[in-house]
Symmetry: C2
Subunit: 183 residues, 2 copies
């Protein structure tokens, strides 16, 4: 068994950037490019009248071409020196995303082994030491240490350690390593 501590790392809005895609879809449907102020505090499909945009998540291909979150590739590589990373994504609501997410990971994070992919629904099943996620509901029942990755829909949440970007994630885990040395 690997003795590294384990991190459950979410995909969407943490390593895969969903926002630009939703901005494009909104613009296609409503002819207007949203500004941050329009959706700050919620998800883009929670804007009044835009709920149908959420249905696009069920389409084949939706998750295949998302851009990589800035700094995430370098950040994951850095964490892998000291931690075992599991990609834990709530994929199961969307049957058609399974292959897309698999192919996306193979393309953009080829240095993470498929053994470490976890496509789940309820993340309560996970027993890792850490979890990085943009949804407070996933951190709520988690028994390890949870980090909330900032996204438009979670800015009012204050129950968890917040990380705003990948630099802050890497810094957090460097601090953890120092703490472990001193005990």
């Amino acid at each position: 068994m690997d003795t590294k501590k384990t991190i459950a790392l979410d995909m969407d809005e943490v390593i895969a950037n969903v926002t630009p895609k939703f901005l494009d879809l909104y613009e296609e449907s409503y002819g207007r490019r949203l500004k941050k102020a329009d959706y700050w505090g919620k998800k883009i499909y929670q804007i009044e009248g835009a709920m149908e945009i959420r249905d696009r998540l069920f389409e084949k291909g939706f998750f295949r071409n998302l851009p990589v979150m800035p700094g995430s590739r370098e950040g994951v590589r850095a964490l892998m020196d000291d931690y075992e990373i599991f990609i834990t994504t709530a994929a199961q609501e969307f049957r058609n995303c399974l292959e897309d997410k698999y192919d996306w990971l193979q393309e953009h994070f080829p240095f993470i082994h498929w053994r470490n992919y976890v496509f789940c629904g309820d993340k309560g099943v996970l027993g890792t030491d850490y979890m990085i996620d943009d949804h407070a509901r996933n951190l709520e029942g988690f028994r390890g240490k949870g980090l909330l990755f900032t996204a438009s829909h979670n800015i009012h949440e204050d129950r968890f350690t917040r990380v705003n970007n990948w630099t802050e994630i890497v810094d957090f885990f460097q601090e953890e390593q120092i703490k472990n040395l001193s005990v």
Copy 2:
């Protein structure tokens, strides 16, 4: 949060019966129907010269039409009264099986919610109370109580509580319920 105890339930050779499919494939390739004695103590594709059969696992459709393991549907239903069941399957080696496994579960176990599907690689990521699996390697690092479901390849294994069929699984968990009442 659900307060039921949780069970990680493997798919292949526990609720999905892979053996008849391998017997068919062997017969197609080598013109002979295997008897139990031919593969007892190993996997069918570990029979000398038959390793190429394992490659069929990578084909689209392989997992889609497997028969349901006798008694598993009724057994899972019975366990769900007292336990939360997660279907935990080592799917990630086989990219093409993801949709097949999803569709199979929807067809044969529609009473299990997609939230409770976990398609993973390394099962060390799971933090459930129990695990039912036919591979000793999955039970080795598991921190909960592991049950080894008898399959041809694990008959010489003696480190775990063995269950030979679904009747024995249901009986085991009925005993657990009685134990919990008396403490």
